[in-house]
Symmetry: C3
Subunit: 138 residues, 3 copies
């Protein structure tokens, strides 16, 4: 049994989903495990990680519009140190979560056919986001 850790740095361009499937799979591939467990962890409180359909672009725009309704900007937050998108970004991060674990089999994470891995940027400004990676297996 062995393990490996690493980090991806993702450039975001303001609010929206950034697909990171390819970069994650390439990193896992480089570790050379046949089977095991992959964990991905977003080291921020205003961005998050999720798995969602990777085919239709409309799924992503609908998802972005929906989360803006469930955790909207507005004048009712006590915390707005960094602007009106500050507190909604924290709420959207809680809603979607910052961590994913995916079993590895046959040399790759067992994502379904339509599943892609996304970083969800919740701030209006571009950010550099750091994603920690870990695999364990053999």
């Amino acid at each position: 049994m062995r393990q490996a850790g690493g980090e991806l740095t993702i450039d975001t361009r303001g609010q929206g989903l950034v697909e990171i499937t390819r970069r994650v799979l390439d990193w896992v591939d480089a570790q050379g495990l046949e089977s095991g467990l992959l964990t991905i962890f977003c080291r921020h409180t205003s961005a998050s990680l999720l798995i969602q359909e990777n085919a239709a672009r409309e799924v992503r725009s609908d998802l972005e519009a929906w989360i803006a309704r469930v955790a909207p900007e507005g004048p009712h937050y006590a915390h707005d140190d960094e602007g009106p998108d500050d507190m909604p970004a924290h709420l959207r991060s809680v809603l979607t979560g910052v961590q994913l674990s995916i079993p590895i089999a046959g040399g790759r994470p067992v994502l379904g056919t339509w599943q892609g891995i996304y970083l969800f940027e919740h701030r209006r400004a571009a950010h550099l986001r750091r994603i920690a990676l870990h695999v364990i297996g053999e």
Copy 2:
């Protein structure tokens, strides 16, 4: 230290919660680990996994009604290739998540007394859902 991987296939009958606790525990039991970590992963973008109370049936119907309010069907989605339940299914999958990890101690996952593991089917039609399993420990 050793690990094992597997898969469960779950027949759903349209929208709603399907308890899979027994099938997951039986699979873990068959791996014969005394302690370790269990990970369960749903390989779909319109079904999800969650842990919720396993006693009162009303908890499940209230949960199903609530998620239909938070991520409702409606005419405002750009993505409706597969019908009005298509996009809401993706949103509900994001809301609840597709992955669970549970420590194993004393030979079984440390679920609390009232915790059950559920697959949440978000499409109206019956589906065959594939759930990947992984344990590591000794």
Copy 3:
């Protein structure tokens, strides 16, 4: 490679966020791993775990107010065996989740600068909550 399991018992004082970062980090530190994977699991269906910003107190009060809007108390639940806060507590637990996994590197979990680990108590009454811990690595 080695692993360890444990449990934290957390006294809550009714609805709200309880920071447990220090207690989790102390437990991990005592296991003496240089690198690996930490998993934290809440053994309840009316409390949950999340990672959120640990600096401004207003973030936590805004988060508590928001979740009370998304999963409100009300007369429309079939399940209210234990009072009006019973069913909303289950919904809020589903919304935020009961499990976190965090890679360990350089001897500690790779939390970002502003990330704290919180137990979210969703019942009005004080409760004793049990959090299972697991690490694997070397």
